[in-house]
Symmetry: C2
Subunit: 344 residues, 2 copies
């Protein structure tokens, strides 16, 4: 391939890629890729994402590298976008060759982030949720909801999803989209109703506020909480008392302390790094009555895994375009001459 | 325009844009844009760039925001690329709307970085170089050299450029490219020869090493040093004794302390922020015998200015393509349904 060209996976091509492989299969594959990268966690360059906050949202850059490949994601979070008819979260990302700094892939990541977030949640739950969990409450039925439901079906064996959203239109949309999924879909009238009989509680709401999606008295013993929506400073979903009763598992503590549910706790409150559960270095769930909490904020390594997965599909599917993004003069020092020659 | 589409300026379109406007005019315009943004320096979100270092190079992300518009650049620096026939520095960048997080522009920035670096250097020299400077030494005749020469001609009135590079092929290339520029081009056999009679000394070499491109005894009173090549940890060009004799001007001290020539000095060595010279808050050159040093490492605001300049040219020139980069379902919460509908 010419050095100036960078493979680009557009939104259209990403949809075709997902449909070609099958959504559940993509989720299973992504979970495996992410789990494999969590297993080699110490190999990665890690840094909390670089956030630019405004009154209405945040724009973030999430870089990481395994020493061979570099990746980063651009992602925004603007809860107010919904009212303007825009996506709350949009994203794109890039892989590059560490040896040369040249890009290997540019990809849309709005869809890919939804997929990797769900795959990560389900992968964590596979390690943490109680044995035999078959029912999940899903509070917040926005853009991430169906991906979560299918990931928990495909990866954890969830059979029933109990939906609740303060906006019943969102629940309608989610139920409609999952109607043919093979999951039992139960529409619920309240948060309390949604968690009835659920062994896994997923919270996935979008307000940029200290919200209380789950109260302490709503959470019984033995459940796994998959807390997705609390993911930036000032944005949480759980009552602090729940956190004090839970064993808390996180991706990258320096980032989660700033962005996760645990921003409500002291900076030295004990947490377990998920990757250490996966390698077996630390215990995950140790009793049936324990409350496990995956305080997920999303970490750069998950995006890296997802981008590598997409990159691995380029050759076999051909689902990409080439972008003329890198200046490539015949003599690399002759950038100026390249412009002069373009005039001729 | 459809919400999913992001204007993209490819390498080809960037060359056409530069040729359409004229290189010197672009340099003058960019210097004005950068100077205007330096004047409102306190309005910007500033952070040292986020660097991922390897043995052979560095990959960096450079974000900033003025509260209305957000921008970032991806840029690598791999001196060893030259031996592989690759660019030492390649880059691309993005502008986004702070209010929504949606991208406004994706652009190649290898060419644009060369232009903005030269424009910044000349803009700084306009404020710092001795009155009536007409001769510039250019040590290092690589990809950045011609851009520097033309920027100093167009912005500072430089009439003669004295070229030296350890590789005479680079000097040949540079002299050839500048033959029709209107500048007097003098090929020199040594660094000492190059600086003869020069009031401005530009160093622009690429080794990732503590190099000594200028020795103390080579630098006389009253010159302006434009030090471009020392721009990452472990990479410098000037003997420390020169720094001790100079008044040092920098872009953003927290970044320059890590990356610039002043990484060789104590962390509290006095430096002046260039933006304060531009606003008049601080003096620039105060005597004819003073050595002024612009210890340039490149800062995110310069890229922001350059991206905004390019963005401002889109509508009038039409020199861009549209990238299908942002998922845009009719109902923003129905990302999943968009995929389902794409199957149909």
């Amino acid at each position: 391939m010419s050095l100036n060209l960078v493979p680009f996976v557009s939104v259209d091509k990403m949809m075709k890629l997902v449909l070609h492989i099958g959504i559940e299969r993509v989720l299973v594959d992504l979970a495996a890729e992410i789990e494999a990268d969590f297993r080699r966690w110490p190999q990665f360059d890690k840094t909390p994402r670089v956030a630019s906050h405004s009154d209405v949202g945040v724009i973030e850059l999430m870089p990481t590298s395994d020493g061979t490949t570099y990746g980063f994601k651009y992602v925004n979070g603007h809860p107010s976008n919904l009212r303007r008819g825009l996506q709350t979260v949009t994203a794109f990302g890039l892989l590059a060759d560490v040896a040369t700094g040249y890009p290997l892939l540019l990809s849309e990541m709005t869809i890919l982030t939804a997929l990797r977030t769900a795959a990560t949640s389900a992968m964590a739950a596979k390690h943490l949720a109680p044995e035999g969990a078959r029912v999940m409450a899903m509070i917040g039925n926005g853009a991430q909801a169906e991906f979560q439901a299918l990931a928990f079906k495909a990866i954890c064996g969830i059979e029933e999803v109990r939906l609740y959203d303060i906006d019943s239109d969102a629940t309608d949309k989610c139920a409609r989209n999952l109607a043919a999924s093979g999951l039992k879909i139960t529409r619920c009238k309240s948060r309390e109703d949604a968690i009835l009989g659920a062994q896994i509680l997923t919270t996935c709401t979008a307000d940029k506020n200290y919200a209380t999606i789950l109260n302490d008295n709503m959470v019984g013993a033995g459940v796994h909480i998959n807390a997705i929506g609390g993911d930036c400073p000032g944005k949480t979903e759980l009552a602090p008392a729940i956190l004090h009763r839970s064993s808390i598992f996180v991706e990258y503590p320096p980032q989660t302390r700033i962005e996760g549910e645990i921003q409500q706790l002291d900076a030295d409150h004990p947490v377990t790094e998920l990757w250490q559960v996966i390698t077996g270095a630390t215990a995950g769930r140790t009793s049936a009555s324990q409350i496990t909490l995956f305080d997920s904020v999303g970490f750069a390594i998950e995006d890296f895994s997802a981008l590598r997965y997409v990159h691995g599909k380029l050759a076999v599917t051909g689902l990409y375009d080439n972008l003329d993004m890198i200046a490539d003069p015949d003599d690399p020092r002759d950038l100026f001459g390249m412009i002069l020659r373009a005039a001729a």
